[in-house]
């Protein structure tokens, strides 16, 4: 790790829901920022810089930072906006770490958000169209069949490539659709304990989820994440300030973000992809290995106390838990059956409900870091895991399914001076 120790000293979120029509984008973002500053016992004058981000073009605003900068007190200070698709929040959080660890700044606010309801179409259709618009038009110019495109891409609706990924995982692990019901039910139950979460369903059972309509086998409606309006913010500070301001700071112990080849939009001349199994996720495996090396973690299965995994679809909680080294290959669903991933289990996964219950896309990966920080700081209230948290892992997934961020937070810095 770098020369300076860095910690999260404050966290702030907004309530998440389908339509936060009571606020505009700038109000929404400032709500999270001021909540975080209050939690960090820090005033605006002490903040050196802002790292901000959401999905590009979502909510119909292309450069939101130019608008909301005034609302978060940024004028006169550096503002850096980052957009890396679904991993945006993870990149924003890691950039705040770099900014402080490098010695450039002492206190940095990182904030990420999404406001889906400002777009006309549900979800993120318009924003996502922009991602590969020219490439698609090029293919249409060469006779791409709309029927085939719709059947292969849109039948899974928002599920997109994830439904294929789930099928690959089922085939090689022996996991069944019932296990996706179990993960989704757990997400909704956990979310019911988290006052900021979107899809809250106390006492939700796998049977409740199994009753929901099938979208495309193996995914049901009950498996799918919502499109949420909401924002998350963290205050990141150097060691001396962190020790003064926070009773238990959440120390950055390792950060990594490795990518793999683009494997969804066929960006390269609409050509094929060398990734034969989309559940392979090499980028996640490599990122996790790097993070454990930085943090001196020898056995993640024993040393990681809780993980916040980016899992818009329940299959991804299982896939990524294995790729993060928390379970052996193809066994996470067995641990799920034994209750090991429950909030009071051996290794709780997404005690906040995760992305499966709350998905303000640009913010989702920062929310994972924020939720991991809450667990380390002991501030997760009703969804606090009932054990001492020394190491909490936060994961982000996005890009065209090829970007991954992994961040490890702990109760002590990676290096003591």
């Amino acid at each position: 790790m770098a020369k300076r120790n860095v910690a999260i000293i404050g966290c702030g979120q907004t309530k998440h829901s389908s339509r936060r029509r009571d606020v505009n984008l700038a109000e929404l973002v400032s709500e999270a920022v001021y909540n975080a500053l209050e939690d960090a016992q820090t005033h605006l004058g002490e903040v050196d810089a802002f790292i901000v981000g959401n999905m590009q073009g979502f909510g119909g605003v292309a450069q939101p930072e130019q608008w909301l900068g005034d609302w978060i007190g940024a004028p006169g200070k550096p503002v850096l906006r980052i957009a890396t698709g679904g991993t945006t929040g993870g990149s924003v959080g890691q950039a705040a770490y770099y900014a402080v660890a490098s010695g450039l700044y002492d206190v940095v606010v990182a904030v990420a958000w999404e406001k889906h309801s400002d777009s006309k179409e549900p979800g993120a259709t318009m924003g996502l169209t922009h991602v590969g618009f020219a490439n698609f038009c090029h293919a249409f110019g060469h006779g791409l069949s709309l029927r085939n495109l719709l059947a292969t891409s849109a039948v899974g609706a928002a599920a997109g490539v994830a439904v294929y990924q789930a099928r690959f995982y089922m085939h090689r692990s022996g996991c069944r659709i019932e296990h996706f019901d179990m993960v989704a039910a757990k997400s909704r139950r956990n979310a019911a304990k988290n006052k900021y979460a979107h899809l809250q369903w106390p006492n939700c059972t796998p049977e409740d989820i199994a009753k929901t309509e099938l979208i495309a086998y193996p995914f049901r409606y009950g498996h799918i994440c919502p499109a949420s309006d909401g924002a998350s913010a963290i205050v990141v500070a150097r060691e001396e300030i962190a020790l003064k301001k926070a009773k238990q700071p959440a120390w950055f112990k390792g950060v990594a973000a490795y990518t793999d080849e683009e494997n969804q939009l066929q960006s390269e001349s609409f050509g094929g992809v060398g990734v034969l199994d989309p559940s392979e996720q090499m980028g996640c495996r490599v990122s996790a290995m790097r993070v454990y090396e930085m943090a001196g973690i020898k056995d993640p299965k024993q040393e990681i106390d809780v993980a916040e995994i980016y899992q818009p679809f329940p299959s991804q909680e299982l896939i990524f838990a294995e790729r993060l080294g928390l379970f052996d290959d193809g066994t996470a669903w067995q641990a799920l059956e034994r209750g090991e991933t429950d909030i009071d289990g051996r290794i709780p996964l997404d005690p906040s409900g995760g992305v499966n219950a709350t998905n303000a896309i640009g913010s989702s990966a920062l929310q994972r870091i924020l939720e991991a920080a809450l667990q380390v700081m002991g501030k997760a209230e009703e969804h606090q895991v009932p054990k001492k948290v020394r190491n909490a892992l936060a994961h982000g997934w996005g890009g065209v399914t090829n970007f991954v961020t992994v961040t490890l937070l702990g109760d002590t810095p990676a290096q003591r001076r």
């Binding site: 606020v23 549900p122 020219a134 060469h142 085939n148 080849e261 992809v273």
Partner: protein, 169 residues
């Protein structure tokens, strides 16, 4: 901090239209090469001289070894299903893409069951995402052998490859 919500309780719908016209875009000539192959009912793939991978449809750059994929190989139009999903019967009003309902526009048929698949054509190292045609959805399995379904009259377009169908035993 004062919020506007005190004076304006809800977001408003702001009417507006925007024709983005045309983007400028630069693609290689690979697409032309590929569709010319389709006209002759041939699947033209690119070969990486770095790692030996054969990728279909062809691409210019190898994703993992970062070398130009200058080689070409014609791969078999027979292959194996590596992944499949099964849709429930298509219904009007269920799906909306870019403002239109594909059942209303006739792109998808009411009641049809779609089976999108990943196919690895023999001799290639990649999956092609396409439709399985003419198969009982209950009989589909990973490892199932399939062959390309070509348009009756090929015209040098991506739609010349309509999908795949089971190879009868």
């Amino acid at each position: 901090m004062g919020y506007l919500k005190d004076e304006r309780p809800e977001t408003m719908c702001v009417q507006g239209q925007w024709n983005i016209g045309a983007y400028k875009y630069k693609a290689s000539t690979l697409m032309e090469e590929y569709v010319q192959g389709l006209r002759e009912r041939k699947l033209v793939a690119s070969l990486c001289f770095g790692c030996g991978k054969v990728i279909l449809p062809p691409r210019n750059l190898c994703g993992r070894c970062h070398r130009r994929m200058d080689g070409r190989r014609v791969v078999s139009d027979r292959g194996t299903i590596t992944c499949f999903i099964v849709s429930p019967p298509v219904q009007k009003g269920k799906l909306r893409v870019l403002g239109t309902d594909p059942v209303e526009t006739g792109v998808l048929k009411e009641g049809e069951i779609l089976v999108p698949v990943f196919v690895r054509f023999d001799g290639s190292d990649s999956n092609v995402n396409t439709l399985l045609i003419g198969a009982d959805p209950d009989s589909v399995h990973i490892g199932m052998r399939v062959k390309a379904v070509w348009a009756k009259e090929t015209r040098g377009a991506l739609s010349d490859l309509e999908g795949v169908e089971p190879i009868e035993k």
